[in-house]
């Protein structure tokens, strides 16, 4: 703390109103913090770690992009070939390559995931559409190296953990330090209001924290350029700006938390220990705890098991239907022990007349059966996600993670948007293709044969997959609830800080 005697006497300030007091205190605090060693060290640390994080994120992004390019090339090859010209709409196990892969919806990794990794690696890389439902592809996220087991290091992490730590280190002695040294008494002997004093500290803290934050963003952009990243699309830069704003909100939140604890405690030591423990719980343990709580309260079956269950139900129903169609075929053609395409063509109209009601009843039954299973699984999974999100909102750090991941389209909301888009596409495909299959399999005795029911459409006649909207406005809408929660945190903490400080007995 600096020497007060050399400063302009604050007595005269009192008359000039509270804004002057705030400015005065803020000015003193600002200089104090900017020249401190802890500030310098943390800024250097952040500036040193950000290029490392960018490098790691960029390598990872490039790998995912490579996967994406490969998948797109495969799909294009498939679409250009026979499978693209004649879509059978049937998932037959003996086609060498699942021909339904022509519908494959492939997700391009978001370039912002270099900075805010979020869930980007945990999304499925693609979705396949089959008559029995949507099949998810694998996700790119797989710990491959030892260091992957230590959690992901990206700009979001550095802001949340390292800059959050800086905010705490700047705030913990802001009030309790002055209490301990006795300078607070001196301040209060001047006509400086308590509110003005605390507001000044708050303004100064926010201003000081902006410096390393801005440095972090600039270094991140610069190093991503140096490591050879493609330039961001225009809305990408805008989103990054929003991430910056959200980060400043978060740091303000942590700083106000620091001020609150600092006002409540009498010694710096108590203040820092309480703060660090809160910080550990809040920024390291909160998200795993949220997931755990959600899983314990609302256990959901694994997606793989649901998928298996659906497959088994669908397959059983399909075999049954194929046999029923075989019986119809036999009744019409009168042949018992052989199946030939010629027989079918000769009696096509009669066979189809018998078979069509079987198909429509099959489609209805399938829809009902699978929807029940899926709805139950969805309900459980949504319940689990809701609980996890609510628990996460209790901590500013996890709320911050939600905000920035939503803003950079690597969050949970964006994941749900992709699932919804896949669902929409599936419904459209179901209406034009799966419920009116061009090819059918007919089973008679030990034989089975695939028959052409109607002309096979080509992929160009079928609807295309529409990826979810990814504009700035949409991402803001997605992030809005979490932003509001973050602001509520800030307001509550600031009010708490003012109350605690007002109650402080200076004697």
């Amino acid at each position: 703390m600096e020497d007060w005697s050399r400063k302009e006497s604050p007595v005269s300030l009192g008359k000039r109103g509270i804004s002057k007091v705030i400015w005065y205190i803020a000015n003193r605090e600002l200089v104090d913090q900017l020249i401190s060693t802890r500030f310098l060290i943390i800024v250097l640390l952040v500036v040193g770690l950000i290029p490392l994080a960018t490098y790691v994120g960029l390598e990872d992004y490039k790998n995912r992009l490579q996967d994406y390019d490969r998948l797109v090339a495969d799909k294009q090859k498939l679409m250009a070939g026979e499978a693209g010209q004649k879509v059978q709409g049937e998932d037959s196990p003996w086609t060498p390559e699942n021909e339904l892969a022509v519908f494959r919806a492939i997700r391009r990794p978001d370039p912002l995931s270099v900075f805010v990794r979020g869930l980007d690696g945990a999304y499925p890389e693609y979705w396949d559409f089959t008559p029995t439902g949507i099949e998810e592809g694998p996700s790119a996220l797989r710990p491959k190296r030892l260091s992957d087991l230590l959690g992901q290091l990206d700009m979001e992490f550095l802001i949340r953990v390292v800059l959050g730590l800086l905010a705490i280190l700047l705030a913990f002695d802001a009030v309790s330090g002055e209490k301990e040294m006795g300078t607070l008494r001196l301040v209060f002997s001047q006509p400086i209001s308590r509110a003005g004093f605390l507001a000044g500290k708050l303004v100064a803290g926010a201003a000081v924290l902006l410096v390393p934050l801005a440095a972090a963003f600039l270094v991140a952009l610069l190093s991503s350029k140096i490591f050879g990243m493609e330039s961001l699309p225009s809305d990408g830069s805008l989103k990054l700006l929003l991430v910056f704003l959200a980060s400043s909100l978060y740091l303000l939140c942590i700083y106000s938390l620091g001020l609150l604890i600092s006002s409540l405690t009498r010694s710096q030591k108590t203040s820092i220990i309480v703060l660090l423990v809160i910080w550990i719980v809040m920024s390291l343990a909160a998200s795993p705890v949220a997931t755990f709580t959600a899983q314990a309260i609302c256990p959901a079956p694994s997606r793989h098991i649901v998928e298996n269950q659906k497959k088994r139900l669908g397959d059983a129903l399909k075999t049954e239907t194929e046999k029923a169609m075989g019986a119809a075929y036999r009744d019409v053609t009168g042949v018992e022990n052989r199946m030939s395409y010629g027989d079918f063509l000769d009696n096509k109209d009669a066979v189809l007349r018998r078979i069509d009601p079987i198909i429509s009843s099959y489609v209805n039954k399938r829809r009902q059966l699978l929807a029940e299973v899926q709805q139950e699984a969805d309900r459980q999974e949504n319940g689990q996600n809701r609980i996890a999100r609510t628990v996460m909102w209790l901590s500013p750090a996890t709320t911050f993670t939600n905000v920035v991941t939503d803003l950079s389209s690597t969050g949970d909301e964006s994941r749900l948007a992709w699932f919804a888009a896949a669902e929409r596409y599936f419904n459209r495909l179901e209406a034009v293709l799966f419920e009116d299959p061009p090819m059918i399999t007919v089973r008679l005795g030990g034989m089975s044969s695939t028959l052409e029911r109607r002309n096979l459409p080509s992929i160009s006649e079928l609807p295309m997959f529409v990826p979810p909207k990814n504009q700035v406005v949409t991402t803001i809408q997605r992030a809005l609830p979490s932003v509001i929660i973050l602001m509520v945190h800030i307001v509550l903490l600031i009010i708490g800080g003012f109350i605690a400080f007002a109650r402080y007995d200076v004697r």
Binding site: T37, R38, I41, I42, L45, G48, L49, L52, A53, V56, E59, N63, W94, L119, G121, A122, E136, P138, L141, R142, P143, K144, R145, L146, S147, L149, L150, G151, Q152, L153, V161, V162, L165, L169, D173, K269, T270, I272, I273, L276, V277, I280, V281, L284, A285, S287, P288, V289, A290, T291, F292, Q295, A296, S302, H304, I305, E381, T398, T401, D412
Partner: protein
């Protein structure tokens, strides 16, 4: 005197509000984590048994020809590791099963795909709690051990006694650490009891030893961090400075070093990506297959005349024996060539990759937390060693199946010189699928884990001794005036 100092430190810490706080955090985090992981383990064992049963049923119902042609795949499942709750390691990222057919082994789904996406933000296993949460709290305890007493002036009073400085330091080291270690020990024991109640296989061979090793390794790690904290505390005049410096050290050792070592390894020893390798492989496979099909087509037309449709029993019969022997010879030759070339590419790639990995792993051992991660995940059977063993087991099983089953299946594709491609397949001897050996994978023993981890032990030992020695020097040099 040593006893008195130890007692003083112990009492001071135990009576301070930090002690119950630490106890509470440890108890809540570790016990919930073990509980949830144990439930999860139960589910995974159920899943595993169910999947094996289903695969068996599917196999029994399938036609033998479908099995021979690989239409019904043979599967090998990964048994879940009971200790994954202590260190989940690569457990969730390994394929839960492999599908075997004539073309090779194909990995199935991983557990990662099934987890709630929220778990990306961090897994709350015992290892995470020890190396992120407990380590920070231990540093917090250590930060004002000496600097605090300097600041308050009580250090002068202590040094005015007839106690030598090393006794004072040792007393602080032992007393202070015991104060943080006690809650950790109690919670660990409670956790083991909890696991026992939850039908964890405690009595399984080697399990008590593994648990003891997990606890021992964590204790060594925390002790090393405590010594580090003591060093920083002895070097700084004020506890506030000590704290800032300690947090800095923690961030660097915890986050920067392991990743930096990856980066350095990738720069020092660059290797081609997996995609490039699989492209190389597919080029080799395609060119050999193509060559083979052309040769077969030429021979077929030479024997049976131009324009004869491809058939498994072509006319005239007299030339069939010649055709069969030529076909078998060509196919065997091509298969051998293909295997040799693929092996060369693959082993070269694996060698390079292993070298890069070794560089990264050895560099990362500079950080005690990387050493702990490696050691603990290997002890729990979820680390690098068991990942390698799983892949080896898959490879061995594929070879067994190739020899016992798929070598009896012949797939012939011919490209006729006059144009046109045809293919046919045949089975020379039917094999009863029930006689095929089942996939077997055994996790590594404790001995393997220890033998493969001497580097981690060395790193932990270094971090145990060096900071304490440095702290000793700093403390001796401290001018009390």
């Amino acid at each position: 005197m040593l006893k008195a100092i130890i007692r003083k430190e112990l009492l001071e810490n135990v009576l301070s509000f930090r002690f119950p706080l630490f106890f509470l955090i440890c108890a809540v985090l570790i016990l919930t984590s073990l509980y949830v992981h144990q439930l999860d383990f139960g589910n995974r064992v159920r899943d595993y048994n169910e999947q094996i049963r289903l695969a068996g049923e599917e196999l029994a119902a399938a036609r033998p020809t479908d099995i021979h042609y690989g239409r019904v795949p043979l599967r090998g499942f990964l048994p879940p590791s009971p200790l994954a709750g202590f260190a989940s390691g690569f457990e969730a990222s390994l394929p839960k099963f492999y599908e075997f057919n004539a073309e090779g082994a194909k990995p199935g789904d991983t557990a990662v795909a099934e987890e709630s996406v929220l778990s990306v933000f961090g897994k709350l296993d015992f290892l995470f709690i020890v190396q992120m949460v407990a380590s920070l709290i231990v540093l917090l305890f250590a930060s004002d051990m000496i600097a605090g007493e300097k600041e308050m002036g009580t250090l002068r009073a202590i040094l005015a006694n007839s106690a030598p400085r090393h006794t004072v330091l040792l007393g602080k080291y032992l007393g202070g650490f015991t104060a943080v270690w006690l809650p950790f020990l109690i919670v660990f024991l409670l956790g083991v009891i909890l696991l026992g109640v939850l039908s964890f296989p405690l009595t399984q061979a080697g399990m008590p030893l593994r648990l003891a090793l997990i606890f021992l390794a964590s204790t060594l790690f925390l002790l090393a961090y405590f010594a580090l904290g003591l060093l920083v505390s002895a070097s700084s005049a004020r506890s506030r400075t000590a704290l800032v410096a300690i947090l800095l050290v923690w961030i660097v050792l915890q986050m920067a070093v392991p990743r930096l070592s990856d980066m350095i390894a990738a720069i020092v020893h660059p290797i081609p990506t997996q995609t490039v390798i699989s492209m190389q492989k597919s080029v080799v496979v395609k060119s050999i297959e193509n060559e083979k099909a052309r040769a077969l087509g030429r021979q077929y037309e030479a024997l049976f005349g131009r324009g004869t449709p491809f058939n498994t029993n072509p006319e005239p019969e007299s030339k069939r024996a010649e055709w069969d022997s030529y076909r078998t010879e060509t196919e065997t030759l091509a298969a051998e060539r293909k295997a040799a070339q693929l092996r060369e590419i693959e082993s070269g790639y694996q060698r390079e990759k292993a070298r890069q990995r070794a560089i990264a792993a050895n560099l990362s051992l500079i950080s005690p937390s990387a050493a702990l991660t490696r050691l603990l995940s290997d002890i729990c059977g979820t680390g690098e060693i068991d990942r390698g063993r799983y892949l080896d087991a898959v490879k061995a099983h594929q070879q067994t199946l190739d020899a016992a089953l798929y070598s009896h299946v012949h797939r012939t594709t011919v490209i006729m010189p006059s144009g046109g491609t045809a293919s046919g397949s045949s089975i020379d001897t039917m094999v009863d699928p029930k006689t095929l050996p089942a996939f077997a994978f055994r996790r590594s023993g404790v001995g393997d884990a220890l033998a493969g981890n001497w580097g981690s032990f060395l790193s932990l030992a270094f971090w145990l001794v060096a900071p304490f020695a440095a702290a000793y020097v700093r403390f001796i040099n401290y001018d009390v005036r």
